[in-house]
Amino acid sequence: MTLSYMKNPIHLVAILVCLLYGKALLAQFPSTYIFQKDDTVLRTQYLQQSVNKHKAAIASITQYSSDYKEFYNQQFEQAEGFWESTRPVTAPDIQAYLQEIVQKIITANDELNGTDARIVFSRDWWPNAVSMGDGTIAVNAGLFVFLENEAQLVYIISHELAHYHLAHTQSAIKGYVEKINSKEYKDEVKRLSKMEYGANRKIEDFMKSLAFDSRKHSRDKEAEADRKAFDFMKNTGYDRLAVKSCLQLLDKIDDSLYFPNSFSVNTFFNFPEYAFKPRWIQKESALFSEMKDEESFRDKKEKDSLKTHPDCSKRIALLQNDFDKETANGKLFLVNENLFHQLKRDFYFEMMEESYRSNSLSRNLYFNILLLSNHPDNKVAVYSITRCLNDLFALQKAHKIGLTIDAEDNGYPQSYNLLIRMLSRLKLDEILQVNTYFSKKYYSLVQDDEAFKKELIRLHDFKTN
């Protein structure tokens, strides 16, 4: 269960930078950053709880054993993978802040007393929050950095808690397993398997109808979680109209067309001694260049039927009566407004670094170029760009660079697409040249940084070997 399906999450970054680097915040963005130190003991405890929940789920199976096991195992793998990675933020100060907010929700709702939900921030860059069904709930840095106040964060946590509390994942699994083991389903499969002609078309229609049912069920559950979240917020002291403002925010993130490009590769990688080469981004002719996206596969009705989440405007409409009755007595901040804003800045670095750790190098480079384009004195960005270009060189030499670069996509901002295109066209030697002149340009800013010096040595080794 997730808060919202983001079609084009990368656009968040463009908006985010615009928001973060507004005049008020511009001066506050640090030029260096000390990464958060996680509490590994806590992470291990949370993992153990997931292990125990999984065992209990398996032990509770009374029928359709293999089907249930398959789903429970998939569910566990997701949670296990999360807790064993560097993605969860378990740094004590941040976790204490988050738990104080969570506690306000639990205290205000007796039914949540004793919940074993384990709620953390995640370093994932894409704007989302997720309830994994076993009590693991993550709010992505890529969503948090976009929020305007604690009240919106409270809505997001409440929404995910609602999914868990109402056992939406478990009921979805149960519904599906029972469906595929029903006589009606089995008879239909048997009938289809005996068809000699036109069987695949019938099967496709049959499976499509199952998918539509399942997605409709998901959308209903989202609406239910929104309502429950609105209820959960009632006695927390937070402004419940934040639900509306948060949904409006999410809707904007979904709309990719409004966001401006914030840098141009042509100028960023143009150096006095080494000019930008137009062929790095020259447009090529393309198949079906005039075909509109919506014409490609499914018609709009079918696309809508396959969505797991209703549109945010529809979600707002479902709660509009409640919004109208709501008086603006609640607060936007109750725990720590300064820390909230501090974390919004910190999480930009955290998710940027996580994209590097997860080998999303084109994205890591994009985040850093955005940062440096807006903060030319940012040492973290200079070091990270040099490091990333060195890594790209090594990967290209081994013919593995393609595993770390995104493919161009109409949904991405133009600046990111051009960066991807450039990365996919730079020759081996050109990566070295670009890195050489980039590091030379910013040398005076970071010359004393030990990590940067190591990258310069790497660069030198690449050139001489």
Binding site: Q78, G81, D124, W126, Y176, I180, V189, L192, S193, E196, Y197, G198, A199, N200, R201, I203, E204, M207, K208, L210, A211, K277, P278, R279, Q282, E284, S285, A286, L287, F288, S289, E290, M291, E295, S296, F297, S358, S360, Q396, K397, H399, K400, I401, G402, L403, T404, I405, D406, A407, E408, D409, S424, R425, L426, K427, L428, D429
Partner: protein, 540 residues
């Protein structure tokens, strides 16, 4: 020979698909997933449906605009409609592996796609029905909608030739028969040879993509049999090289260049290639100034193209009226020998004869020719078969040895400035009996188009011509590595580099396909994990 080639369909029907994980959005681009996503997303949910839902992969291929790879197509039978027909799905994927379009249609169960091509705006697919012996050309516009369909019935001779050559070579669109040529923004030319024993001819068709219009050219006058090669189109004229034989026993064909009107297919001129020398053009390319040149080997003016050894290679430019505007000849003995050790008849020591695959002009005006060596050697197997069968075997006593790659550098006036041989392991091709005494240029064309015997794959040039990459396959037997390799010679702003990718890796097997300029698409198949990873990689 086809070391790196394996039909993608081998991998298409695997049930286990490693989808890009939505959580980390990995760049493991999976063509299988792209191909049959809609089916298997759902199939994966319940194993009992797997045995019911079957897709039968027909073929797949690369969509190119000249030398540039623009995408890929996957063609499969997605359903049985009745005992005679299937529902087919044609999926079109761009060069970033993004699925662009899925076209479904019902047709005979005997249909396959032979070839596709892109002319900068429109896309064409050639569908072949092996039961009714028909070709259907489907044209799709830039908006993804079908524009026109052109049909034609193949003659028995054409069908037989197709089965002997193209289909016998597994439908490889790169090295063997290549019948559809794009004309930017205007349409496509199709060249279809037909041969039976000693009866040769060919048919040239033009299919317009601007409006529904088609014309056909079949040579008839002045000869009994014809070998025709489409050279290129420039300034509204379609240039064809034709060898005309006066009869079945004619051993000295006449070589001519025929110009056709692109507008209506009418013959504009027929010019003999006997000028200062006897020229046998193999292809045509256009320089940056828009002027087109034919290139190929040449012979003594009184020589015989079908039998003699060539004297060198030549560049001709010809205007729209068939007037030869310039002729430049580079002889093996005088010009080439300054750079490479060449015997008097064009045989470079150890390298053999040179087959020119392509010509490229770079941004600085230099011209590069990409060639590959081949030479005749005695076939022990053929000789043994001949002795044992008292001469009744059709197996030739000669085999062709494919040797190294060569890159020749010319100035803008076609004077040789340099040449370099790039060594590779040699292959052998057995040639049919009766071809032992054919001339080397004719044998070169046979190796290229009939047997798919060369290791050369393709050349790609950047739009601004500051860089080009020549790709070819090889086989390595060193102590560190034994297996196929994919090789590249890359020119970038005056500097030439080479690169090699071993196709044996930690993956069970790997396939390398052409991708965008300077890149390849690598498919790593992991048998144990039943996983296929696709990633686009740059050539260094």
């Amino acid at each position: 020979m086809k070391r790196l080639r394996k039909n993608l369909s081998d991998y298409m029907i695997s049930k286990q698909i490693n989808y890009p994980k939505p959580d980390y959005m990995k760049k493991h681009l999976l063509m299988m997933a792209l191909a049959i996503m809609s089916a298997f997303v759902l199939v994966a949910q319940k194993s009992t449906l797997e045995n019911v839902y079957k897709l039968s992969m027909r073929n797949s291929g690369v969509i190119k605009e000249g030398t540039e790879v623009k995408g890929y197509f996957l063609f499969f039978a997605s359903d049985k409609i009745d005992k005679n027909s299937n529902e087919y799905t044609l999926q079109i994927i761009d060069n970033n592996l993004k699925k662009l379009k899925e076209i479904k249609f019902v047709d005979s169960k005997h249909v396959a796609i032979l070839e596709s091509s892109f002319n900068g705006t429109d896309l064409i697919f050639l569908l072949y029905n092996d039961d009714e012996n028909t070709f259907e050309y489907q044209v799709y516009g830039a908006d993804g909608k079908k524009k026109y369909t052109y049909n034609r019935i193949l003659t028995k001779k054409e069908d037989r030739y197709l089965k002997m050559t193209y289909l016998a070579n597994n439908g490889d669109d790169e090295d063997t028969y290549k019948g559809i040529y794009p004309i930017e923004g205007l349409g496509f030319i199709s060249n279809m040879p037909s041969r039976e024993d000693k009866d040769y001819t060919f048919q040239l068709d033009f299919f317009s993509t601007q409006k529904r219009k088609q014309w056909t050219y079949i040579p008839t006058l002045g000869g009994k049999k014809f070998i025709g090669d489409y050279l290129g189109t420039a300034n509204g004229v379609v240039y064809i090289s034709i060898l005309k034989y006066s009869g079945a026993f004619d051993k000295k064909p006449e070589s001519v260049i025929v110009g056709l009107s692109l507008e209506n297919g009418k013959q504009l001129f027929e010019v003999s290639t006997e000028s200062k020398q006897l020229f046998y053009p193999s292809s045509m390319f256009t320089l940056a100034d828009g002027k087109s040149y034919m290139f190929g080997e040449y012979f003594d003016p009184s020589g015989n193209i079908a039998k003699d050894k060539s004297v060198g290679f030549a560049f001709w430019s010809m205007n729209e009226k068939g007037k030869i505007e310039s002729e430049k000849y580079c002889s093996w003995s005088l010009d080439m020998s300054k750079f490479i050790d060449v015997s008097a008849k064009g045989k470079i020591d150890d390298f053999g004869f040179m087959f020119l695959h392509n010509m490229v002009q770079t941004a600085d005006g230099s011209i590069y020719a990409i060639g590959e060596g081949y030479k005749k050697v005695g076939s022990a197997l053929g000789i043994a078969a001949k002795v044992l069968s008292a001469g009744r075997t059709s197996m030739s006593t000669t085999k062709m040895k494919i040797t190294d790659m060569i890159l020749l550098n010319f100035d803008k006036d076609f004077n040789i400035k340099g040449a370099k041989i790039y060594e590779k392991n040699s292959n052998n091709i057995m040639i049919p009996d009766g071809m032992d005494f054919s001339s080397t240029p004719l044998l070169g064309k046979m190796i290229k188009y009939n047997f798919g015997g060369f290791d050369y794959s393709y050349t790609q040039v950047t739009k601004d011509a500051t860089s080009f990459t020549v790709c070819y396959s090889d086989y390595e037997r060193s102590k560190d590595y034994k297996g196929s390799t994919f090789n590249a010679i890359t020119y970038t702003e005056g500097k030439i580099t080479t690169d090699k990718i071993n196709t044996k890796s930690d993956a069970t097997s790997s396939i390398i396909l052409p991708a965008q300029q300077g890149q390849v698409l690598i498919l790593d198949y992991y048998k144990k994990a039943k996983r296929l990873d696709l990633h686009i990689e740059k050539l260094n």
